[in-house]
Every structure is written in C-alpha cells, then in structure tokens.
Symmetry: C2
Subunit: 415 residues, 2 copies
Amino acid sequence: MVVELISVGTELLLGNTVNTNACFLAEKCAILGLSLYYQTSVGDNEQRLAETIQTAQKRSDVVILSGGLGPTQDDLTKEVVANVMGKTLIEDEHTKERINDYFTKSQITITENNWKQAFVPEGAIVVDNENGTAPGVIMEENGKTVILLPGPPNELIPMFMNDIYPYLNKLQPETIYSKMVKVCGVGESTAETMIKDLIDNQTNPTVAPYAKVGEVHIRVTARAKDEEEAKKMIKPVVKELKARFGKNVYSTDENETLEEAVIKLLEKNELKVTTAESCTGGMLAARLVNVPGVSEVFREGFVTYSNKAKRKILSVQKSTLKKYGAVSEKTAKEMAKGGVFATDTDVCVAITGIAGPDGGTEEKPVGLVYIACYIDDKVTVREFNFKGNRSKIREQSVVKALTLLRECILDVYGK
Amino acid sequence: MVVELISVGTELLLGNTVNTNACFLAEKCAILGLSLYYQTSVGDNEQRLAETIQTAQKRSDVVILSGGLGPTQDDLTKEVVANVMGKTLIEDEHTKERINDYFTKSQITITENNWKQAFVPEGAIVVDNENGTAPGVIMEENGKTVILLPGPPNELIPMFMNDIYPYLNKLQPETIYSKMVKVCGVGESTAETMIKDLIDNQTNPTVAPYAKVGEVHIRVTARAKDEEEAKKMIKPVVKELKARFGKNVYSTDENETLEEAVIKLLEKNELKVTTAESCTGGMLAARLVNVPGVSEVFREGFVTYSNKAKRKILSVQKSTLKKYGAVSEKTAKEMAKGGVFATDTDVCVAITGIAGPDGGTEEKPVGLVYIACYIDDKVTVREFNFKGNRSKIREQSVVKALTLLRECILDVYGK
C-alpha cells in the first residue's frame, strides 16, 4: 500500500520550524510496511494545497496531511480537502462538546473562531484530540483514504499512535508487528557486520539497523495474519540478536532510553551514583535527570571544569595534574574515585577530555576523552578518540559514560 | 523569484533522518527574499526523482536539490538531473585532483567508485566542497537554474553559505541584506505587540520576529541596489528596535548565542560564575560549557538534586527545607548564596523547581520553578510557572536562568 505525506504550513517554507512530524510519520509508516515515495511541504495557500492533494491522491492509496487545522483564517487544510473531495463541512456535535469541555477545563474563554474546529467533512470519521481542540479526520472514498492530523507534535504524536496507527494496520491485508533491540557499546559497522546474514537472508521478519549516537537500534518487523502470529515470528530473531550482542543489549522496549536502562540497573542493585564532569560540563548529570524519579539513585553531581575544582572537590592530586595533565587516564581515575569519596554514593562516572575547537596538541588532539568509573573499590578507565565538532564530541562522551557505567555495574553485580 | 527545494534520499522517507537541511535552506531562501512554495522529499529512485525535477522546473526559477551525490550506485541525483536536462556527464579535471588531494590528506585509500564524483554535467559551474569529496553543481539554462548540493549538513551548510548564497543574491535584481536583533527576557506576544507597527508598516526593510525558547529573534531585511545601501536602510530600524527593547537586546550578531553573550559579559566584568541546579540537573552548566574558552569565567558547578546535597554542598538550612520546601523562593536564594560561598566565585545562579510529570501538588504544580542569582551580596529571585513536559520545563528554566544572570550583572555593573 502506498502512502504519501503532506505537511501544511508556511512556517515550514520560511524555515521557522524543522519538520520533525514528517520524520515521525515516515518512521511509523515504514514500521507499518507502507511504501512512502513522496513527502511534500506546502504553505497555507488554497490553490497550491489543492493541487498537492490532487497529485498525491492520484499516486497513493493513503494521503496523510498534517497542520493547518487551527482556528484562524490561515488554517485551511480541512476546507481545501473537503473541497477537493466534493464534500461539505458539517458541524460535529460531539466535537463541539469536546471543545467546550476543553476550554472550560483550562479556564480559557472561547473565542468565536474556535467553533470552526467543530466542523468536519460529511461522512468523515472524527478522531478525538486528547491534547488540543482540533479533531483528527479520516475520509474514505473509492478505496482511498485521506487522513488529517493537527500540526503540533504533542497533539499529532499521541493521536497517531492511539488511533491512526491501529487504523492503518487494519487497512492492510496483513498485520505488521515490530520490536526494537537496543544495543550500546558496539560500533555501527561492527554491529552491521555481526548481523549481515540476518539482514540479507530474511524477508519476513525483516531486520534493520539504525545508527544513533553511540548506539545501534535494530528493528525486527514481521508481517502475519494477526499480531499473535507476528509476535511468534519475531521471537526467535530477537532471541538470536540477544545471543549475538549479549550484555550489550540494554533494552527491547521501543521507548526506553539508555539513561532509563542505567537508572533501572542502579535501582535494581540499590546503588547511588554521582558524576564528575569536565568537558561535558553537566551533560551527563542532565541526561540522568531526564528520567523522572531519578532522585532514588542520583542525588548530586559535580562539574569540575578547572584544575583547581578537580583538586578541591574531587581530591585529584596536584602532582597528577602536573605530570599527566587534566586530560589523562590518571586524572580520570582520580576524579571517579574522588567523586565517590566526596559523597555518600557507591559509584562515580568521571569524564575529562578535549572537546575543542582549541586546546588540542599533536600528542593530545581534540576529541581525546578519558572516561572512568569507580565502583566497589575498583576503577575502570577508557580512552576515546572522538570525531566531530565540540558538541558531537561531548554528546558521544555522555553516551560512552552511560555505557561504561552500565558495563561496570553488570561486571560487579551480574544483573 | 520562485525557488523550490528537493531533498533526495530514501533515509528521509524511512524516517531515519530529520530533514534539517530543508529547514536551513528554507530560512536562507526567506532571508534572500526568494519565494519558496514547495519542498519535496523523494527517494533514490530514478523515475520518481526525474518526475519531481520536471514538475519543479515548470513552476520555479531555481530548483535546489540536496543529497544523492555520494559515490555509491544508489546515489543518482547528478545522473538524473543531467538526463532530465539533456546533458552528458564529463570528467572535471579540477575536481579529480581535489578528490585525489582529499584522500591523500586524510590518508584513506581511494576506492574506484569515488571517481564517479569527479563527473559533472557539461557546461555546469563546479562548486568546490571544502568538507567532502562530492562537488556542488550549478546549471543554468533558459533563464532557469538547477543547483545540486551534497546531503551531509557539514558539507551542505558551508558550501551554501560560501558559494550558493552569494550566487543567489546576485541572480536577483536587488541585493538582500539582513541583520538579526536577539532579545531575551520579553515574552513572544509582548515582543510582537511592541513592534506591531514596525511589522505592519514597513515593506523595505521588513521586520520579522521568530519565537525561540525563552527568546525572540527579530530579523530586519532590506532590499537595495547594493549591500552598502541595504546596510544604510537597516541601521535606523535596528536602532529603533534597540531603543524599544533596551537592555533586553543581548546581541545583533546572527551567530551569537545567549550563553555566549552572558560569558562575554562575565569576561568584561572579570566575574567568575558557578551554578547550583536541582531540576535542570546540569543543563545550565552544560550550556555554559557549550562556549569554547569558558574556563576563564566558569570553573565549577553543582547538581544538588537531593535535599541532603543542597544542605551539604550549598549550606541550605534544614529549617528552610522543612518550612518552605525544596521548591521555594527561600531555598533558591540560599542555594545561590551557598554556591558563591562554597567556591571562590563572584556570582551563582540557582534553579529549583518541579519538572514533573510527578511531584506536583495543587499549591506547587508541575512547572513551578524558582531561579535565584547571588551577586555583590545581593540575591534576586524569580518565580516561574512554565507549561509543557519535563524537558520543555527544564529547557525554559535554563534560558530564564541565563537571562536573570545577564540582568543581574547589568544591574550591578551597568555594562
């Protein structure tokens, strides 16, 4: 089945907004096994939007439009779609009530133009918006489907996942089901080599790797007559991937992040962690604090950017800094040890490196980063040579620090 | 002049990559005063790509394609464009040498397929790639232009800014020149109201506000016969904006970030700063460390997520935490003061708040954040009620903290 995406909004054509919706929808369509050949962004312009919809309808089975469902005069996606399909807009009582409730709850006065959002094309399926006023719309005609979604990602994403994803899955002759195997501590090309046979030889389920910063996510997707059957087909492949990547698999949950997996591991082993950061300057701590409820395992962290701070807060020896320098294996080790002794924690991860663009030498080039983890009276340190600009080097450092922390816990506690 | 963007790459249609190139190019086209009506993403497919180019050529003066210039068989943008325009590809000696140099310098062995990148359509203008092997290409025919750019942003952006931007500017009857006025500490709608007359009444120069997280950027763009003339026209408008927003203007440099402006201010007044963060968990410190050479003014920072850490590291009183709670004006003030006294710094910014999704009460809802700044024996504290999810609340907190820090320095030191 062929699908096409149309993003509506002049803000996209002025470069005010990065089109993350298109990426989100494209990924979900790929998971659903839908063929996406074209994605078009067009402004809030009646004629150009109508032409774009007509072109898309000719070459696709499903057209998904996002944006332009707001209450203002500029928002005309619904009106244009109705016009192109020869439908009139009629007031939907249910949506009218929902909008009324929405405004009552948020204690905002309804302005007259908001009622425009209660109108939908005749015969359309109305999809409730849990996070805003504009309803989603599904229109079916002559075996073809047009779907209208609101533009704000916090409205579009939940609506798509709750209602549109299952709807599209049902449209197809087979059910699509997929599972993500998330791997850390293995490079992209190594990971691809390790599963080349699986990628090349399997058509159902399919195996597809996605490279992320410092991680590889592998999606296993099966098509079957129902979800149960698809799950059964996926199971041995996921098992095989787990066998090949072993401890490097940190999750098979689509939504679990590396920091969440690490926090869970700390909780499971009743460990408290602290951070000692130089070049990352707080990014590692900030990433741990991404996880709500982190306070059980993370209570304090240090940014020790200067040598003096490393000495004062983390008790790094003056002689170490003098002899080996701030960016050295020895300093990283002392930072990690110092972090544990400066707090009442069990583990400390320390990062020290040269993020650039200045400060590099032939001996210690930009990108050289040492990461150490102190746990159970042992300290493990790793040297990295990252490529990229300042922000890329710091981002990779954080992922490698989380990876090292995870490995050290598993080594000591086995779970 | 009408321009159209075509992004080529199956990875875009699979949702593996967010199309930041399209946003970058759209913004630059807007600055150049070009009208962009359509942006299309299409896969590495000969027929569909050819059709997309033909459609774009019919309705636009300039077509910019990005991606698909790589050395592999999948990369066929150049081949398809040449075919559509009835041109043959010929080997470009200069590019061949450049590719040879590139590989020699990076000490990588050239594989045979790399030479494919030395071929360009006959009669085309070749644009050197400073950061990769694929050259850019400009083709002119019958008053229309087709431009080919490499897909990786680190190749596309410098090539566009160095060569394509000036080329497009010259194509137009007038020169376009613009300046950005960056404002912090003023809400989006307030800012728009303050300059509504400038937006509405001026056509040349134009005034356009862009809302960023906690900031508003206002672009002033003039069209004139040459750059000098355009600069002259912009000057009084920028002056007027500076008069209206006063101290809230932190930069008129396109590339300067808020953290850079703050760091400069600290340097100018020879001040050292420290950070004391709870809900942001290191994000503020990390943002300061975004700036290379920050070590002159920022040497250490603290993440005090638990009450115990607030007490131990920042000397927040037990009674304060008990009576007012960790998220309170009083705690924020004591954190900021404690930060200065725990270090040898002059200023401390402290953040404490409820980032959610849990932990909110009727009295202290999710989004309540206190930010304090201690400087020159005085402490200033502000209360915020942010909307949005955990990450949005934390992001806004960091911007407001930088804004408060900036204001406090200006209040005390006047510069």
